[in-house]
Every structure is written in structure tokens, then in C-alpha cells.
């Protein structure tokens, strides 16, 4: 079993980057989707989407806590205490929630990618991460079911739904690759087993899985690779989000809320 204190500095830093990337993905998508609370297309769906968004925040919380143990910092401070360019989420999560088709497309792209990633991390040599990932995967099953349910329904509907969905998939495709953007210190992570499978292999696996579902809807999708700055590029949309979620937290540094 790997205990935090056993890790050398290089491994620990690489692991911290990895955990931060997953945590920030969950945190940011949780925020965007929580915005649907109260205004989703149907009341029943409103409650479902809110649950999924809350799950993501819950996962982010657990990941920030795990990270906090690695670097000696409080989870809330990691979550709320950075400037906008300090966040390491994939560029897929840089976009505002958009219309319902946009959110459905993004959620599908994210959940499928996350499933592949978590599948690998469930076998991480860092046991706390492996255990946490296992727990997350149990909740993510429902997320996948729900994302697929909506993708199919919009794709199979008449009128404007399939086109809105197709447009959204095409608009998000390039950024979706960045869930698998290379991490700093990835070599160390793979060598030590913290990340049992390299990102580019996970990426290839994911693309192969989603093409058969997405191409009948959106047409042929390019074989794009993740970008090198896929977890560093930020957007105006995210800048807005960041200003919102820090607006109260930053009024009194280290105050208790």
C-alpha cells in the first residue's frame, strides 16, 4: 500500500497534478450543470440534473480532500482559493452550459471520457486514489445511463432536436479530447503505477468507444489529438464562473461560512 509519506517529491507533485485535474473537471462541470437547477426543461428532469451536478461536486470535494492530504492544504482553499488560471480542468469544461442540447452533448462527452479515466485510476498504485475512484464509479454508472438516455432521445426526436445536438457535438468535439490532455509528470505517474495507463492510450480507447454513437448523429468527426495546453487554456466563460464562485468566499479570506 502506498502511503503519502512514502512518496518522493517528484512522484508526489505528479500525483497532485493528476488529482487536481480530475477534481477540477468534476468541480467545474458540477458548477455548470448546477445552473440548470430551477430552469431545466421539465420539473422531473430538473431534479435529476441537479442530483448529477451535486454528485460531481461531491466527487470534487473528496478529491480536493485527498489532494489536501498530499500537499497540506484545506479542500475549500484549494477549491475556492486560486486565480482563474490556476485551475486545471479540461478545455471541454471552459464553456457555459449553453442550451439543453449543448449540456447534453457535453455531459455525454465528459461522462464517457471520465468512465475510461476512472477505469484506469481504479487500479492506481496509490491506494487512497484507487479506493476513491471505485466509489466514484458506482455513482457514475447512473450519470452514464442518464447521459445516454438524453443523447438518444434528442437524436431520435423530430424537428430541431437532432440538429441542435449535432451542432453541439461538433462544437465540443475538439475540446472534448482535452480530458486526456497530457499531464506534467505523466512519465513519473505511469512508471510508478499511479496512472496505470498513459493518457494517449486512454484517449484512443475513448474515441473508439464514442465514435459509433456520435458519428451517426454529428457526421464524421476528425481524429484530433488532445492539445498540449488542454488543461491550461482558460476562457471568458470560465472567468465569469470563477468570479461568481469566489465572490462570497473571497470577501473574507479564511473566514468560516
Amino acid at each position: 500500500m502506498t502511503v503519502t509519506t512514502d512518496l518522493d517529491l517528484e512522484t508526489r507533485e505528479a500525483l497532485a497534478e493528476l488529482v487536481l485535474s480530475v477534481a477540477d473537471d468534476e468541480f467545474v462541470i458540477g458548477f455548470w450543470d448546477s445552473e440548470w437547477t430551477g430552469i431545466a426543461p421539465m420539473l422531473e428532469e430538473d431534479v435529476a440534473t441537479s442530483s448529477i451536478a451535486q454528485d460531481e461536486i461531491g466527487h470534487a470535494k473528496a478529491l480536493y480532500e485527498l489532494l489536501g492530504e498530499l500537499i497540506g492544504e484545506e479542500a475549500d482553499h484549494i477549491a475556492f482559493g486560486r486565480d482563474a488560471d490556476g485551475y486545471r480542468h479540461a478545455s471541454l469544461l471552459n464553456h457555459r452550459r449553453g442550451d439543453w442540447a449543448f449540456s447534453v452533448a457535453r455531459r455525454y462527452l465528459y461522462e464517457t471520457a471520465d468512465a475510461v479515466r476512472l477505469g484506469a485510476l481504479a487500479h492506481s498504485a496509490h491506494e487512497p486514489l484507487a479506493l476513491l475512484t471505485g466509489k466514484m464509479r458506482r455513482e457514475e454508472t447512473y450519470h452514464l445511463l442518464h447521459a445516454e438516455a438524453w443523447l438518444r432521445r434528442l437524436a431520435d426526436a423530430s424537428d430541431e432536436a437532432p440538429e441542435r445536438l449535432a451542432d453541439a457535438i461538433r462544437a465540443l468535439w475538439t475540446d472534448a479530447q482535452d480530458v486526456f490532455a497530457p499531464l506534467a509528470g505523466e512519465e513519473v505517474l505511469v512508471r510508478s503505477g499511479m496512472l496505470p495507463i498513459p493518457m494517449r492510450a486512454l484517449h484512443a480507447d475513448w474515441q473508439a468507444r464514442v465514435r459509433p454513437t456520435l458519428e451517426p448523429i454529428a457526421g464524421s468527426l476528425p481524429a484530433t489529438a488532445p492539445s498540449l495546453d488542454g488543461r491550461e487554456r482558460r476562457s471568458d466563460d470560465f472567468a465569469w464562473l470563477h468570479s461568481e464562485f469566489t465572490s462570497v468566499a473571497r470577501t473574507e479570506e479564511r473566514a468560516t461560512w
Binding site: F31, S34, E35, T37, G38, I39, A40, P41, M42, L43, E44, D46, V47, S50, S51, A53, Q54, I57, G58, A60, K61, Y64, A75, D76, A79, F80, D99, W100, R153, L154, A157, S158, D159, E160, A161, R164, L241, E244, F245, S247, V248, A249, T251, E252, A255, T256, W257
Partner: protein
């Protein structure tokens, strides 16, 4: 006449739960010599006999969705439940802005969860109302068109994180005082829904009180934020249960739709919550507020009933902006409902 005034033509009764098809024979006429088996100590009422129906509900009897009921009673319950449903739906909006601004992970989860519950309550209540004969689309349209009402407190803006605490604690508390009384409503589907809602609201109040307590134990600025929020919300809170009504003329009371009158509810709220507010060192912005030991009642400055009336008829500070917000988002998502539910009648 619209569906909800003529139950026999209502789609709910066509498409609702089927009556047992084995009952091919009409009920035999009962005469005085028959030994009538009372149900729960009360004689059953014959469909069509309004007087017997009102005796039934007036003495604690219950009514289910597909029981016969006088049109007047049906309309009264529908109006009551519809306003309640509207209030839950509009009640989402004051707090919704703060979902994105919640200052830590636990508060973010708790607040999102609370607001999610309010949406859930809207669903539960619209379901109850829909089974009385009015389609959800029609109810939502009437709300957005300003034809039906929602409770006063949801017509006011929120200005700070402290509002989140005050609303979840005190506004929800005032609501729960009414809602607990409704658990005994004569209209059984509503009563059952209220039991679920009350259970869920009890969590909200604890969340609200926790937020307020944390702020009160924090910095001077945080405490000042709470006092300022309380100063703004006290007026609407006092108006929330409505002006005292003449019990003799209150049909909702007689028919068991609600179990307590407005003043009883307000007194109950004050008894529980005034001490809890004062013990935190907060000041209640009503110098006349005190408990009169002789009468056992709270004395207070008469709330501004004109303000209440203006507000619930859509003239509150945030009434129009909130309705406009709802209209915009409802319109934006119409294509989704059409895609899933089909046609121009698709409801949310």
C-alpha cells in the same frame, strides 16, 4: 367550461385509474331500514349529496382524487394547491443566484440540494393539482401570464449570502408552520404530499440555521450582514401568513382544506422563532413586538396588508423580473418538451 370544473368530462377520469370493471351492476338504493355500516364512525355520503360531503369533510373525513366532490370544493382545493405549487417554483429563484456563489463545498452541496428539493415540491404539488383536473401546462401558463399567485416572500430580491441563511431558516420555518397544519387536510393526496414536504423542509431549516449561526460566530462584517438581512426580511415574514380572517367565513378552514387560521399560524411562528432569533444577539426590527403574558399572545406592529396585496398581485420589487426570467427560460426549453413529449400541448 374548462376541464377542472366538470369532472365527468375531465381527461383525468378518462385516462386515470380504472374503476374495477367487474362492477357491472349499479349500487342498490338504500332505504332507512338498511343497516348502514359506518366507515370510521361516519356515514358514507352518496355522490351528488353536497351536504353530506361537507359533513364528511367537516368531521375529519378524507377525499381521494377520484372520489366524487362538489365542484366548489374541487375548485377551492385546486386554487389552494396551485398557489402552493407556484410558490415552490417561484421560491427557487431568490436563492438560485447563490448556487454559483456558495462560499465552500459543503454549502454549495447543501444549497443546491435545498433548491432541488423546492423544485421537487413544485412537482409534487403540480401533480396533486393536475389530478384534480387542471393540466400542468395550463398551470404554468397561468403563472407566467400573471393570472395565478405565489406567496409574497418570493417577490423580494436577495442581496447577500446572509439572505440565504435567513430565507432557509425563517422563511422556511414560517412555511413549515402552515405546512404542518396541512398534513391533516381533508384532501388526502395533498395531506400525504405535505407529510413528505414537511420532512424535507425540516432539513432546510437546519441548513438555514447552521448558515446563520456560522455567520453569527464569525466576523463583525458577517454578523452585520445577518442583521441587515433580517431587517429586510422581517416585514415580508410577518405578512406571510396573511391577514387575520374571520373563521366563520373561511371556507378553506370549514372544509378541512387547511386546519388552522392565519393568525394561529403567525402566533405559532413567533412563539418558536422569536426567542431563537433574540438568543443570537440579533435585533428584530419591530419595537412593538412583545409577548403579552396576560393573553399569552404576541403583540406586534400591524403588518402592511396593502403591501401584501400589492406584492401578491405582481407589484413586488422582484415580481416582474422573476416572472420574466421564468418566461424566458420556459420558452428557451420549449423545443425539448416538444421533442420528448410531443406537440403543442407539451408541459414542463
Amino acid at each position: 367550461m374548462t376541464c377542472w370544473q366538470r369532472p365527468s368530462s375531465c381527461a383525468r377520469h378518462d385516462g386515470g385509474i380504472a374503476r374495477a370493471s367487474v362492477l357491472r351492476y349499479p349500487r342498490p338504493q338504500m332505504n332507512d331500514a338498511d343497516t348502514i355500516q359506518p366507515l370510521n364512525g361516519r356515514p358514507p355520503y352518496t355522490p351528488g349529496d353536497a351536504a353530506a360531503f361537507y359533513a364528511h369533510v367537516g368531521s375529519g373525513g378524507k377525499v381521494e382524487a377520484d372520489d366524487w366532490m362538489p365542484d366548489e370544493y374541487r375548485a377551492a382545493v385546486l386554487k389552494f394547491v396551485e398557489m402552493h405549487a407556484n410558490s415552490e417554483l417561484m421560491g427557487v429563484l431568490p436563492e438560485r443566484d447563490w448556487i454559483m456563489r456558495a462560499p465552500n463545498l459543503r454549502r454549495k452541496l447543501a444549497l443546491t440540494s435545498k433548491i432541488q428539493d423546492e423544485v421537487g415540491h413544485a412537482q409534487l404539488l403540480y401533480r396533486v393539482a393536475e389530478d384534480l383536473g387542471k393540466p400542468r401546462t395550463a398551470m404554468l401558463q397561468d403563472l407566467l401570464d400573471g393570472k395565478t399567485k405565489f406567496h409574497n416572500v418570493f417577490h423580494y430580491p436577495t442581496r447577500s449570502w446572509a439572505d440565504v441563511g435567513i430565507i432557509a431558516w425563517l422563511v422556511d420555518a414560517a412555511a413549515i408552520v402552515s405546512q404542518q397544519a396541512l398534513r391533516d387536510s381533508s384532501y388526502a393526496p395533498y395531506a400525504r404530499t405535505m407529510k413528505k414536504i414537511c420532512w424535507e423542509e425540516s432539513v432546510h431549516i437546519m441548513h438555514g440555521r447552521d448558515v446563520v449561526l456560522t455567520l453569527m460566530n464569525g466576523t463583525d462584517a458577517q454578523r452585520a450582514m445577518v442583521q441587515e438581512a433580517l431587517d429586510r426580511w422581517w416585514g415580508p415574514l410577518m405578512q406571510m401568513h396573511g391577514p387575520p380572517t374571520d373563521p366563520a367565513k373561511d371556507k378553506d378552514l370549514h372544509w378541512g382544506i387547511k386546519a388552522k387560521n392565519n393568525e394561529q399560524l403567525r402566533q405559532e411562528f413567533l412563539s418558536i422563532y422569536v426567542p431563537r432569533i433574540l438568543e443570537l444577539g440579533l435585533t428584530i426590527p419591530d419595537p412593538a413586538l412583545r409577548h403579552d403574558e396576560a393573553t399569552g399572545r404576541w403583540v406586534y406592529t400591524e403588518p402592511d396588508w396593502a403591501e401584501l396585496k400589492a406584492v401578491v398581485t405582481g407589484h413586488g420589487p422582484a415580481s416582474q423580473s422573476r416572472l420574466a426570467f421564468r418566461r424566458e427560460h420556459y420558452a428557451d426549453t420549449q423545443w425539448v418538451r416538444d421533442a420528448l413529449l410531443g406537440g403543442a400541448t407539451a408541459a414542463a
